[in-house]
């Protein structure tokens, strides 16, 4: 059993090594290596989950056994293990579903570079999840950004390059703010390890010393990570990056990269400042307001959109608004709902991106709704998958989206009256708006068309079909048997504080 405590560290290092090795491999082998490594990470994360559940409290793992001020630490509990498991699982399915599309999009001799970036991305996400050191977190935030940039512009054509540039600028502003925040925090506490900072922060807060720098660092860190995870109104980079990048990149970016930053923010809330101090700084109220605004605005933009990929991207803005709304409630059940939504949204959004690629392929690679008419008949599995994702997003019972909405609504009752009414009203409006654009699209793809495009059968692209089916099953499981997951999240958050 005790060997399992090494698993998080091993999984990070495995990913980094495979990135280095992949750079020297031909594309095909780089892909195989990537799949093997991701499978290994899934197994290791599963092991970590079992270990944490059995142990019942968090494990602190000292890298190289150097003690605190000098050494680097990994710290993990149930929640970290779940996140790592889901992230690697969804990464695997996204790559599986988009593998054929990737070959068309990327030059042959550069294919291995794509997998180098993917390995790097996974390693940085795992590090963000596991690390207990703020500066390490910052370093991996940067690695994650660079890898994500590469993934966006992998096709090296047209608007993808523009989108990547825009993403780079936004992400750098975010990283800059994050770094400022960390500097101030280091300045006033003298530590970089989260647990050490927290002890100091509590002392500072009770003595009232350095009150303003503390608040400023909270605001900088919060804003920085909010920009990077595309919280409204910092979402301008998002539609293009998700809309014009290769499909697996869009699926991975929307469901993993932005969620990685959000998870880091959650960790900082609990491990660095503690909920009380954040509450006093009113950051929660700000996040709540922007979250609610994002829910409405994202959906309205999605309704106006004519391009299916950009529509799904705008829907992400709305869904990220949901997550921040959960944070903004500032209570345990809100956080549980937000974390559940991170997972459920990751499952349905990557499904939507992958299946939309199947639909556009069956429509002569056109992404406008006009051409997509009847696409579900030409690519049946993609149609079914898109419908499942859409129903989940809309929040039809028995799909994962409904459970997150219920959790949010239940959490809202524990807040004060203003927050409760605002939250529930926005939730209802946003749900109706979701229904408008998603069901419109579903109806569109099931309307028979007069134009003739070639039909894509299941056996033409087996990995795609398999990925779609697995994603559908995942969504149904999350919708039908959410109880254990919610229980795990609860336990994980308990370990956090």
């Amino acid at each position: 059993m005790e060997i399992m405590r090494n698993f998080p560290c091993i999984s990070i290092i495995l990913c980094m090594c495979s990135a280095i090795v992949s750079s020297a491999l031909p594309g095909k082998w780089a892909r195989r290596l990537n799949v093997t490594i991701v499978l290994a990470v899934i197994t290791l994360s599963g092991g970590t989950l079992v270990y944490s559940l059995a142990k019942g409290y968090e494990t602190v793992y000292k890298m190289g056994r150097f003690p605190a001020p000098w050494g680097n630490e990994i710290r993990f509990g149930v929640l970290e293990a779940i996140m790592a498991l889901f992230f690697s699982g969804i990464l695997l399915l996204s790559v599986l579903g988009g593998s054929k599309k990737l070959k068309e999009d990327i030059d042959n001799f550069k294919e291995n570079l794509y997998f180098v970036l993917l390995d790097l991305l996974l390693s940085s996400l795992l590090a963000l999840i596991y690390t207990n050191d703020l500066f390490t977190a910052y370093v991996f935030v940067e690695i994650c950004t660079i890898a994500a940039c590469g993934l966006i512009m992998a096709s090296e054509r047209g608007r993808a390059i523009e989108a990547a540039t825009r993403y780079m600028i936004y992400a750098q502003i975010g990283s800059g703010l994050l770094l400022f925040g960390l500097c101030i925090l280091y300045d006033i506490t003298g530590h970089l390890l989260m647990s050490n900072i927290k002890t100091q922060v509590i002392i500072l807060a009770s003595s009232g010393q350095y009150h303003i720098p503390l608040v400023i660092s909270i605001v900088f860190i919060g804003t920085g990570l909010a920009i990077k995870s595309a919280l409204f109104p910092f979402h301008a980079w998002l539609p293009d990056s998700y809309g014009y990048s290769p499909v697996p990149s869009a699926a991975i970016l929307s469901s993993l990269v932005s969620k990685g930053y959000i998870f880091l923010l959650l960790k900082i809330f609990y491990r660095v400042f503690g909920l009380n101090i954040i509450q006093e700084s009113h950051l929660f109220n700000i996040l709540l307001i922007f979250g609610l605004a994002g829910m409405i605005f994202g959906s309205v933009s999605a309704i106006l959109e004519q391009d299916i990929r950009r529509m799904i991207a705008f829907s992400s803005v709305a869904q990220i608004g949901y997550i921040y709304m959960g944070f903004g409630m500032g209570i345990r059940s809100g956080m549980v709902a937000a974390v559940f939504h991170i997972i459920s949204h990751a499952a349905s959004k990557s499904l939507l991106f992958i299946s939309s690629a199947g639909l556009t392929d069956a429509s002569g690679k056109n992404k406008t709704f006009k051409d997509l008419t009847g696409a579900a008949y030409r690519n049946k599995i993609a149609g079914a998958a898109f419908t499942t994702g859409a129903l989940s997003m809309v929040g039809v019972p028995l799909f994962s989206g409904f459970i997150s909405k219920l959790l949010f609504a239940k959490a809202a009752f524990e807040t004060n009256a203003m927050t409760m009414v605002a939250t529930l009203v926005c939730l209802a409006i946003s749900t109706i708006l979701n229904a408008v654009y998603f069901l419109k699209t579903v109806a569109r793809i099931y309307t028979p068309a007069t134009t003739e495009y070639e039909t894509i059968r299941f056996k033409d692209n087996i990995p795609f079909g398999v990925a779609c089916i697995l994603f559908i099953i995942l969504n149904l499981i999350l919708g039908l048997a959410s109880d254990p997951l919610v229980e795990f999240i609860n336990r994980g958050l308990m370990m956090f504080s």
Binding site: V396, K405, L424, L427, A443
Partner: protein
């Protein structure tokens, strides 16, 4: 000893699965095979439902969605009543489809969805708590959607979308209220007399009432109540005739069932009595009764006229519900059955006319009674029923409605109600009987030279005649039915408070 629990599950799962299976089966060269399969499934489901009528109680907890929220099916008297009506109408309209669907394409898809909706309706009737009912309510919308747009002309697709968006808007209004109900109810299970937690509610009376009102308004979209009725006259006429018969006869009753559940099994009549909800519902339903009849009277296309008639007749039922007394509720429940049979028969007659002559407008139907005497006789008998002429079913239900209104003692409405009902009955005669009169007595200038009798297929005429006989039987021997309804009203008005 029969295991009723298993039958309860089978009653909705069997048609669902058999419908899904129909998709998987290859298109048969001989349409009889498809129909034999559908017919057999319909009859088996009907038999299952009949067995359930004799069950005392059955309860199955299928799965737990999340803590405290289960998918539960429980058989109660109201559910039995609903499922009984559904099976009769669904099977008869199914037989009608055999001949009618000859001149439509995509028969297999039609029959598959026809079976699926049957299953969903059984699930709706058997749902044991608010969440389950909400889930099946959504599925009802989604699965009946393909029936509406069956012929896939632009007009039908637009109408179906209108139907979808109206229904979803209503459903989410209801969901918004449902979120609050989680907090203010002891349980979300359906218990006659209501489950509102008085202690939790004290101090939040207005909030609870507003939420109940939202739920009622949300579900009333399906029942075509003013001001959200516009989808109904658009969606019902564009479907194939047997589907419009089923939609207009049964699906709209799904909305009524949901309202019954909310008012009598969740909120409880005592909480609503004398509040703005009761007056709002009374006013809106009376407005709809009058407006629907008026619009039907002015409409020239037969199927549209019948759809407007549904708008009007459904509000009779809602009016009876809003009276909140046993006589009114008895009238409503009787009218639920009577209207289901009658409106189904009317739409089937319209379908038979369209199928055999291609005429859609009322003024083209001169002399139709000479050509198709059987169909028009059936049409005439059920028309008399809808107008409310003894000894047909409509008379009994309207009698109860009027006496319920007069004995309710609600200022204004106790007299306004019967008056509006009378005026509307006159209008009903005005819009239904011209077909009969011009049909049998086309006048002297009718071209008797070219007259020939059209032979109507057995599968077409049989359901119409059976439904006509049923509607008369309800009126002539209402005792068995009123006794059964008495057990429903007894449960509701004698328990609790």
């Amino acid at each position: 000893m029969i295991n009723f629990n298993m039958i309860l599950i089978a009653s909705f799962l069997f048609p669902l699965l058999s419908g899904v299976l129909l998709f998987a089966i290859k298109e048969q060269a001989d349409r009889k095979v498809t129909f034999a399969y559908t017919g057999l499934s319909l009859v088996i489901t009907g038999v299952l439902n009949m067995i359930l009528l004799f069950a005392d109680s059955a309860e199955v907890k299928l799965i737990t969605l999340m803590n405290g929220i289960d998918i539960v099916f429980r058989l109660d008297t109201l559910g039995k009543y609903f499922m009984g009506i559904v099976s009769l109408v669904w099977i008869l309209a199914g037989f009608f489809s055999y001949t009618y669907m000859k001149h439509e394409k995509n028969e297999k898809r039609y029959f598959a969805y026809y079976l699926i909706v049957f299953g969903v309706l059984n699930g709706l009737g058997a749902a044991g708590n608010l969440i389950t009912m909400y889930a099946f309510y959504e599925f009802m919308t989604l699965s009946s959607f393909p029936l509406v747009l069956h012929n896939q002309k632009k007009e039908s697709v637009m109408a179906a979308l209108k139907y979808l968006f109206y229904s979803f808007f209503g459903a989410y209004m209801a969901l918004f209220g449902l979120f609050f109900m989680c907090r203010y109810c002891r349980t979300l299970d359906f218990i006659p007399g209501g489950v509102i937690d008085q202690v939790a509610m004290s101090g939040h009376e207005t909030l609870v009432l507003v939420c109940i009102c939202l739920m009622i308004m949300g579900f009333s979209v399906k029942a075509g109540m003013f001001p959200l009725h516009a989808w109904l006259p658009a969606a019902h006429p564009v479907a194939p005739a047997p589907a419009s018969a089923a939609l207009s006869g049964i699906i709209v009753k799904g909305g009524v069932l949901a309202i019954l559940r909310v008012i009598f099994y969740i909120a409880g009549p005592e909480i609503i009595r004398g509040t703005f909800i009761q007056y709002l519902l009374l006013t809106l339903s009376l407005v709809t009764v009058f407006m629907g009849s008026m619009l039907a009277y002015r409409e020239k296309v037969l199927k549209k006229r019948l759809a407007y008639s549904t708008v009007s007749q459904l509000s009779y039922i809602l009016f009876g519900i809003a009276l909140l007394n046993p006589a009114g509720l008895t009238g409503s429940l009787l009218h639920m059955a009577a209207h289901a049979f009658i409106k189904c028969a009317l739409f089937l007659s319209a379908g038979a006319i369209i199928f055999n002559t291609g005429c859609t407008r009322v003024d083209e139907l001169r002399g139709i009674g000479k050509k198709m005497p059987g169909v028009i006789w059936g049409y005439t008998i059920v028309s008399l029923g809808l107008i409310g002429i003894p000894p047909t079913g409509g008379f009994i239900s309207k009698w109860y409605l009027a006496s319920g209104a007069l004995s309710s003692g609600i200022k204004g409405f106790s007299y306004a109600g019967p008056i509006v009902l009378l005026i509307s009955a006159l209008l009903t005669a005005g819009y239904l009987l011209p077909v009969t009169i011009n049909g049998f007595f086309p006048g002297d200038d009718y071209d008797y030279e070219n007259h020939k009798t059209i032979k109507t297929s057995f599968y077409m005429i049989m359901p119409i005649i059976v439904l006509a006989i049923l509607s008369v039987l309800i009126g002539m021997f209402p005792n068995g039915l009123t006794e059964f309804i008495g057990s429903i009203t007894g449960e509701i008005f004698n328990t609790g408070f």
